[in-house]
């Protein structure tokens, strides 16, 4: 386990300096919309919160962290000069493989396709699509979180944005619960799958749906994706601990203790594997962490988009 | 019946148990499922003061090997009955001696409604005694 203080200091510092926990400039991370026909105006704004975009970087960095956790080298992490080279900044962006980035970009592109197919009047403005700051909240850096969230919300308000469409549970939670509570700013927030508005018989498959904690427990949204999939002729096989009672993928611990995070992930995977069907996640953290435990996981958007194409 | 023969060798024990104390006490032993020998025969009595001296001697004559009077002791609901009982027993003992009966065959004791251990102890004591001294040999009269 790493000393959380060091990690928090790094992440908080990154957010403060770059508005991004990993210190990578936004233009380098948020590239999925390039060359993708995206309206710039509309009723609701697609707000990715950059979570999907970060996953390849998180995976890479935690790989390094995992290597040194609980070794004597781990103690050296606090020597700031040593870390940033791969934990943050441009260094990290350089060593992260390109095809991974492409995969996650694909997810976002699918979401945009799904919204379009559902005839949702939405738009995207990369300049307003910021990281929500939720990691700072989770880590206990309340001050840092509030400061950052104020900045993000301020920008959106200034641009006159009222409705947001989210793509991941963490950002959704931050916008629905944390922003009003700690920043005093409220938006009308919907996840993309709540807006799916088409049916198809193309599914023809069974999947194991892994509910993320935030959707299952905190936001009580688990029934929505299930219904969407059912409408697409995709059957969700029952998982013992699902919905309100879902089990964590272990992801949130990865920056502090990759080992712990894998342990928890392995246990969840074991439970999910009991069904024998392909696992589908709807959170970039879950996606990454279950994969780390060796699962072949698909994103919900991929499954939905597949039904579109056929 | 072999079991019958066996129990005869053991000698039969008559237990006079008071309705309010010792008899429920014996029931309580039952509720606890604690085993004791089968040569015990419990008669429910309101108060043992009812029995005249001759009753005891007749019992021994008929073939009862030992008698335990399980009374309420000081908690007897009939004030004075216990004392009257005790004086009567003195006379019985005298008569027993006259007939060459081991007076240990007759015991007076107090057993309460939850005296499980005391109950078992009394039964075991009498059995040990009877195994030692055998059935009563009454002077025929």
């Amino acid at each position: 386990m790493y000393n959380p203080k060091d990690i928090i200091d790094i992440i908080a510092g990154n957010v403060r300096k770059t508005r991004n926990p990993f210190g990578i400039p936004k233009f380098l991370v948020n590239r999925w919309h390039k060359g993708f026909d995206m309206p710039g105006k509309g009723d609701a704004m697609l707000f990715t919160g950059l979570m999907y975009q970060f996953v390849p970087y998180i995976e890479k960095s935690t790989k390094y962290l995992a290597k040194y956790e609980d070794t004597f080298l781990g103690n050296f992490i606090r020597f700031a000069g040593y870390i940033p080279s791969y934990l943050s900044g441009l260094g990290l962006s350089v060593i992260t493989p390109g095809d991974e980035k492409k995969k996650f970009n694909g997810i976002l592109q699918n979401i945009a396709k799904i919204l379009k197919a559902s005839k949702v009047d939405f738009f995207y403005r990369p300049d307003l699509d910021d990281y929500s700051g939720v990691l700072l909240y989770d880590l206990g850096d309340q001050e840092g979180f509030v400061k950052h969230a104020r900045y993000v919300a301020g920008k959106l308000k200034a641009a006159g944005i009222k409705k947001l469409i989210t793509v991941d549970p963490h950002t959704t939670y931050a916008l629905i619960v944390l922003f009003p509570k700690y920043v005093g700013e409220s938006f009308e927030v919907k996840t993309y799958f709540e807006l799916v508005n088409f049916q198809s018989k193309n599914g023809h498959r069974h999947v194991t749906l892994h509910d993320p904690c935030f959707y299952g427990r905190y936001l009580d949204l688990s029934e929505v994706p299930k219904k969407v999939l059912t409408d697409l002729n995709v059957e969700c096989v029952p998982v013992r601990n699902a919905g309100q009672f879902t089990n964590c993928c272990g992801g949130p611990a990865e920056s502090i203790s990759p080992k712990l995070s894998t342990e928890v992930g392995d246990r969840r995977l074991e439970e999910l594997n009991l069904t024998g069907e392909k696992i589908v996640a709807m959170c970039p953290i879950c996606l990454g962490n279950l994969r780390k435990s060796g699962a072949d996981v698909e994103d919900l958007s991929t499954v939905i988009a597949q039904c579109l194409e056929k | 019946m072999t079991s019958l023969e066996h129990s005869q060798r053991e000698g039969k024990i008559l237990i006079l148990a008071t309705e309010t104390c010792a008899y429920p006490g014996a029931d309580s032993v039952g509720q606890a499922h604690s085993s004791y020998p089968t040569n015990t025969f419990i008669l429910r009595v309101r108060a043992p003061v009812l029995f005249p001296e001759q009753f005891y001697l007749d019992c021994f004559k008929k073939g009862i090997s030992g008698i335990i009077i399980m009374s309420c002791g000081e908690e007897c609901p009939y004030d004075g009955a216990y004392k009257a009982m005790a004086t009567r027993l003195d006379r019985v003992y005298k008569m027993m001696r006259q007939q060459d009966l081991d007076i240990r065959r007759l015991r007076l004791t107090a057993i309460c409604t939850v005296c499980n251990r005391a109950f078992l102890n009394e039964v075991n004591l009498m059995n040990t005694l009877l195994q030692e001294i055998g059935p009563p040999q009454m002077a025929q009269n």
């Binding site: 601990n241 309100q244 009672f245 | 509720q31 499922h33």
Partner: protein, 435 residues
């Protein structure tokens, strides 16, 4: 609804469990005419279904049967079993209840309780009276000491094969029986509607009743009863005699995540009682009770608890958080051992959920009496007159007014009976004064 029959009584008692019977007896003994309306096919309530009672370890059947019998034979008491109360209201000085007699498909006046129908019926049905561990037939007498001893047909499981009709020596079978409506009027009513167990499905983490060998406390009562489904304690998954048995306390009480925040008052004691009975029938078995607080508050209860400890029953402080299926029919309990060990997974052959009590009756839409926030009938003077409800001349006793053990139920029933009697004396007085 056309009510064909009207009957008039002094008192209407709703519920024929031990509270209702005691209330009825206490009023009947004062020469009041009492009607007892019971929803089951037999009176006796939960108590007759128990194995033994704490802390005396009296056989429940042995001490309940006489009460049932004396109520059934009492000159002043009329029993209406297998009946639903559709409405209960007061108009002026009269309490009126609209009642439905559910069809037994057996003529109660002809049936002699010989059980020939049951023996010959070809349909085996899971026997709820035996915790579902054994079978009864689609027509049967509820259980051996049921009162009245009249057969009841489970029409949803009947194939109408006609066997019962053929063998019935008194021609009591009537396939065409219909529900019958009637009206009971009385001067006052006592609600003794009792309790049900907290639904086990309320707790996801305990497997919602789907883990084999996790049973509820009432099922254990049946396993322990001498006339239970196996006549001994076996685990239901495969009939093995369990070597290790665990009790999960507060599995349905003091747990807001289940929607029950109150203490159900009896579970500690019945669990201790069951462990004592178990250690009698399975002397070699390890028995563990997982608890938060042992609530042995009644007369003789603490001594009973200390006896259990002295007998070697293990008491572990800690609420079981999660139950999962173990290997070979075993059950895994997950809890925090508070003595420094941390999170522990314990394996047992058989696990008993000490379920709590929820109300057995919801007055809503039937009777204008109020329920409290705990959903039990509300009492308006809990200190000086604990059996008073917010409806004039309607009283409550026993578990209908909150979880209660048998002795507290008995005393409360007496108190309700005296309140009802007082009410009728006053009513009489005011009638005389008016006349």
């Amino acid at each position: 609804m056309n009510s064909i029959l009207k009957t008039d009584f002094d008192v209407l008692v709703v519920g024929g469990g031990i509270a209702g019977l005691q209330t009825a007896l206490d009023l009947g003994d004062q020469d009041y005419k009492v009607a007892v309306v019971e929803k089951d096919a037999t009176i006796g309530g939960k108590m007759i279904r128990l194995s033994k009672v704490f802390p005396t370890l009296d056989c429940a059947s042995c001490i309940t049967t006489p009460k049932m019998a004396s109520a059934a034979h009492h000159d002043n008491i009329t029993l209406f079993t297998y009946c639903d109360v559709n409405s209960l209201d007061r108009v002026g000085q009269t309490v009126t209840a609209d009642v439905t007699q559910r069809p037994r498909y057996v003529d109660p006046n002809k049936c002699i309780g010989c059980r020939q129908c049951e023996y010959h019926c070809p349909v085996y049905v899971s026997d709820a009276e035996q915790g579902g561990f054994s079978a009864t037939k689609a027509i049967s007498i509820p259980f051996s000491n049921a009162i009245p001893q009249i057969a009841v047909m489970d029409v949803e499981n009947c194939m109408l094969c006609g066997k019962c009709e053929k063998v019935c020596p008194t021609h009591a079978i009537d396939y065409f029986q219909e529900p019958e409506q009637f009206v009971i009027t009385a001067k006052t009513a006592v609600l003794t509607t009792g309790f049900e167990l907290t639904p086990v499905s309320n707790k996801h983490q305990y497997g919602m009743g789907e883990i084999p060998n996790v049973i509820d406390s009432m099922q254990m009562e049946r396993l322990l009863a001498p006339h239970g489904p196996y006549n001994r304690v076996l685990r239901p998954s495969d009939g093995m005699e369990p070597d290790s048995i665990a009790y999960v306390q507060c599995a349905g009480s003091r747990d807001k995540s289940m929607g029950v925040s109150y203490c159900s008052r009896v579970c500690c004691m019945y669990a201790i009682k069951q462990t004592m009975l178990l250690s009698g029938s399975l002397p070699l078995a390890d028995i563990t009770v997982y608890y938060m607080d042992i609530r042995a508050f009644g007369k003789g209860y603490e001594q009973f608890y200390q006896n259990a400890k002295a007998m070697g029953i293990e008491f572990v402080k800690g609420k079981v958080a999660k139950i999962s299926e173990g290997e070979n029919g075993g059950v895994e309990l997950h809890y925090e051992s508070q003595d420094g060990e941390g999170v522990v997974t314990a394996n047992h052959d058989l696990v008993v959920l000490s379920l709590g009590m929820v109300p057995g009756w919801n007055p809503e839409g039937i009777c204008p009496v109020s329920a409290d926030s705990d959903l039990f009938v509300k009492t308006i003077r809990p200190k000086l007159s604990p059996t008073l409800t917010d409806m004039e001349g309607v009283f409550v006793a026993g578990a209908a007014a909150g979880p209660k053990d048998i002795v507290d139920t008995i005393t409360e029933s007496g108190a309700a009976a005296v309140e009802a009697a007082k009410y009728m004396v006053a009513l009489e007085r005011s009638r005389k004064a008016a006349a």
